[in-house]
Structure formats: structure tokens, C-alpha cells
Symmetry: C2
Subunit: 296 residues, 2 copies
């Protein structure tokens, strides 16, 4: 059961209300971060999540607002006694950038960092989930990320089990654990495995087919929506999405819920973004800092 925590939901420049881009996903005890804008470590400190449980940090692209929180967080984890390895992944040029920033700001990191320049299709395997990188389209090399929880056991058909003479109780548990009971094999009463919930994070991008493809049938799509449609020319120039772009991706992909983030301080009222989305995709939620969503 994944929990999505919006650490920072601003764009380019923070504001009183919004820290810079960072989304955390926690599955059981493990946390991964998508982007890590300046201030993310302090946001996590006021959230219910622990930065010491972060197993990996995925950076969508190398604009400062998406990754200048990374070196400080890495140093803080080290100063806080972290010994566990961490995976750091981002697009082409990422490892050089991380190493040069860390070199510039001193401070040894006392744990092992696996720093990776990731490409479309690269998959990172964790205990409870995988994370897959996919290409997006921005002004600099950019990636989106899809988190998919591990497969879940198929549904146990109680009625069928009882009709086959199994009495509710310990024998049910045995079947659910894969044992044959009184000649009845588990697969006779347990349906096919079900894929785990999927969470897609677009990063900064124009509306693009790769996000639609990755998000097909996903439980959660987190998509940037930097501009209103009336400013579509600016969105094009800066290679960002409009609210309508994000909503139409959600609609085409058939996701369960769309969160829009990367709120520009160009608009005094960010609910304009949400309203524009809802005309196309009603189940849209405007992400706010420290909002927590549990994926059922």
C-alpha cells in the first residue's frame, strides 16, 4: 500500500506556500524520492516520513529547482549516521553534476552512493516495488519515472473453497499460503496474481506519448501543469505542460486519479489550474505541500 507525500509543489522559484519539486513515495518502510528541490530535507523533517528511510532519489532533469536539495540531504543523512547504500539516478549528465556539486561543498558522505545516468527503460528493483525510467520531452535531457508495486496474490474464492469441502479456518490459511489441502490445490481457489498499483511521475515535460503509454491504467498520475491553456504559447516555449495537457494525458491513459503539481507563482489562484483540468478529467487534485495520499 503506497503512500504519496508531496514534499514540494512549486515551480522554478519557491514561495511562502510551496517548496521546490519533490515527491516521496513510501511502500511499507522504504521511501523513494522523485526530484529533490532546495528545501526538501527540511520539508521532510516536518512530514510524517523519515529521510533515513530513503532508498533512492530519482531526478527528472538537471534544472536547479529540481535537484539543488540533493547535496544537502545527502550530507544531512551522513551527519545523521546513515550507513545504508543509496541509489541516485537521473538523466544523462547526472552523475557528473552530482559529483561536481558534492566536491564543491566539501563534507564526506559516509555511505555508499550508486550514482547512475539512467536511460529510457532502465529499471530499479526494490523489495516491494520497481521504478522504471522513461524518456520525456523538456529543454534538457529529461526522464519520468513509474513506480509499480510488486504483484499481489490473486483473490481467494471463499465460496468455491467451501463448495469444495474446505472449512473456513486454518485450512483457508494453508491454501492461501500455497499448500494443497484435502486434494484441493491453491490455484483451484485462488485467482491469477494481480499487478501492484502504479504511480507515474512526469517531471517537467510537454504533453508526450511516453507518459500516456506508461500511465495506461495507472492508479496515480502525478503530472506537471505549469501553465493555463491561455498561456499555451509560453508552455510551448519553455517545454512545459498546460493544465489541459495534463488532464488529457490522464484521460487518454485512463488513470484513476490525477495530481497536478509544479505550480507557477504566475497565477495568484492555483485552483484555476485544477478547474481547467477537471473540465477534461474530473478526478483531478491540485497537489499542495505536505499533502499525503494513500494508494489503495
Amino acid at each position: 500500500m503506497a503512500e504519496v507525500l508531496f514534499i514540494g509543489t512549486g515551480a522554478c522559484v519557491p514561495s511562502r506556500e510551496r517548496s521546490l519539486p519533490c515527491v516521496a513515495v513510501r511502500v511499507k518502510r522504504d521511501v523513494v524520492l522523485f526530484d529533490c528541490g532546495e528545501g526538501s530535507q527540511r520539508q521532510i523533517m516536518v512530514s510524517p516520513f523519515s529521510f533515513m528511510k530513503v532508498k533512492a532519489i530519482f531526478i527528472t532533469h538537471l534544472h536547479g529547482d529540481h535537484f539543488l536539495g540533493l547535496p544537502g540531504l545527502l550530507q544531512t543523512m551522513s551527519l545523521s549516521g546513515r550507513k545504508d547504500d543509496i541509489i541516485l539516478a537521473g538523466p544523462e549528465g547526472f552523475s557528473d553534476s552530482v559529483r561536481s556539486v558534492l566536491k564543491a561543498c566539501g563534507g564526506d558522505i559516509a555511505y555508499n552512493m550508486d550514482i547512475i545516468d539512467a536511460s529510457d527503460g532502465d529499471t530499479f528493483v526494490f523489495k516491494e516495488f520497481i521504478v522504471k525510467a522513461f524518456s520525456t520531452e523538456h529543454k534538457v535531457p529529461s526522464l519520468g519515472f513509474a513506480l509499480e508495486e510488486n504483484e499481489r496474490r490473486g483473490e481467494f474464492n471463499k465460496a468455491k473453497a467451501e463448495s469444495l469441502g474446505i472449512v473456513p479456518g486454518p485450512d483457508f490459511t494453508k491454501l492461501q499460503n500455497g499448500e494443497t489441502v484435502k486434494g484441493i490445490r491453491p490455484e483451484e481457489v485462488i485467482g491469477p496474481s494481480r499487478r501492484g498499483p502504479r504511480i507515474i511521475y512526469s517531471g517537467d515535460t510537454i504533453r508526450c506519448a511516453s507518459v500516456v503509454n506508461m500511465a495506461k491504467g495507472a492508479e496515480v498520475l502525478i503530472h506537471e501543469a505549469t501553465y493555463l491553456s491561455k498561456d499555451a504559447d509560453l508552455a510551448g516555449e519553455h517545454m512545459h505542460s498546460t493544465a489541459s495537457d495534463a488532464a488529457s494525458v490522464a484521460k487518454e491513459a485512463g488513470v484513476s486519479i490525477l495530481f497536478v503539481t509544479h505550480m507557477s507563482n504566475r497565477y495568484d489562484d492555483p485552483s484555476l489550474i485544477e478547474n481547467e483540468c477537471r473540465k477534461i478529467f474530473p478526478n483531478t487534485v491540485l497537489a499542495n505541500d505536505l499533502m499525503l495520499f494513500t494508494v489503495k
Copy 2:
């Protein structure tokens, strides 16, 4: 009349209560920053100061907690339309570090940056004040900074002026403006120029003579006090000051007020630091985030 704003008063790692090191000083409209830890730009946004008025940023040393807020702030000023030049100064290696961090995080800066590796004695001249760098003693090359407001006109001796036959009113103003009135020259009724108030910022350092020298008779000393005296061995190992070190510097230099900052989250109760200082130098104030002090 300088105003000192404590932007961030933490040490090494931020906390819920404390952002990373940054002190702003405003004289009339001009602002300078001393250190610029991660999160400083957002702290300034919730303060009464404007980051667009920042004329210079002085970095004491290249540990991440003291300067990882710099690139984001520079980008934010650019995105906010800044055209004015800015001075950026820090110790040996500073310009290389700034350039490599800015290169790593993309984003053009649309104004001119004068990036300087400063040394002991270097002086920076502003409209209303000067800032002088001085050597301190930390684990890496480090500087402290002294801000001195411009000289003020000497005191006008009203009684003497009246005794010389000058009538209070426009003639007083003329004398104060440097004009001779009824044969009386201004210097006959105006005392010698008085130096402007001085504010000394230690940065991270062990107790050192250079801070005492620079702070002689200063109005304000802002000194780090990372440890209690009972942890003096750790202070020595990490080349930081204890509360007693800071207070004894203030006492020896004869400053008017001591602010202690760089509060470690090692101590649950930072007032222990303040109390230790006050035993040696009673006029000590523990700096807290967004505290504003006006230097009379």
C-alpha cells in the same frame, strides 16, 4: 541605521525550528548576506527583507550548510527579473566552487556576478557601508566579515552655537550642512566625525584573535557557539567555538551586544548556550530564525 535579520540560525543540519546559516544586514535600502545555507531564499520570502535588494553575498567557508542556498537564490533573482550586478565573495576556492555548482544546475543568470576569492583585509565598498574580510580558523579556508557603516557627522553643540549668537532655526541647519553663518564656521560648533556602527560576523571558527581584534568596541558581534563548554573536546576536534569561547571574545573585545548562532541540534535546549554565555558576557542573545535587531 543597520538592521540585522537572522535568516537561518542552525548548524550543519536544519531542523523544524532552524534553517541553515544566513544573516542579512540592511542599511537603508541595501542588503548584504553573510552565508547562504539551503533554504535561505524561502526564509527571506517570509521576512520583511527583499532578496532583490541584495547587493552582495559573503560566504565564510565552503561547507555545504553555509553556501548551498546560493545557487538557488541566484537563479531565483534572475527569474524574478534582476538586472543589477551582484558581488559574491568567499575564501580561497570560492569562485571555482560557485561556477561549478552553477554549471551543474543549468539556468542562465541574467545579471553580472562579480565572483571573488577574498583574503584577509579585502574591503568591499558600498554606498552606506564597507565590508571587510578577515581570516578565521576552521577546518577549511575561512573568513569572517566586518560591516562598518559610513562615518557620521559629529555632534552639533546647540548650546555653544547659541552662546556664539546663532538663533535656533534655519541658521542651525546651515551650520549642520557645512555653511559658515555670521562668521561662525561649522567646525566651531560640530564635533569630530563619528565612526559608524560596526557588526562583526565570525562564521565558523575556533576562538581566535582576529575576531577579537576586528570586534574591538563593535556595536554587534555575531559569533558561532556550536558547543557547550562540557563538549570543548568536540569543539576543538571540529574547530568550532563553545558558548564560553564566544562570550569571552565578546568580553575581551568590549562589544555592545553578542548574538550567538549556529545552534547545534545536539542540545534539546539551546538556552543552555545562552546561559553559559551570560555568565561571562551578560548582554548575550540567542539568535532565532527571523529575529530582527536594529543597531542604534
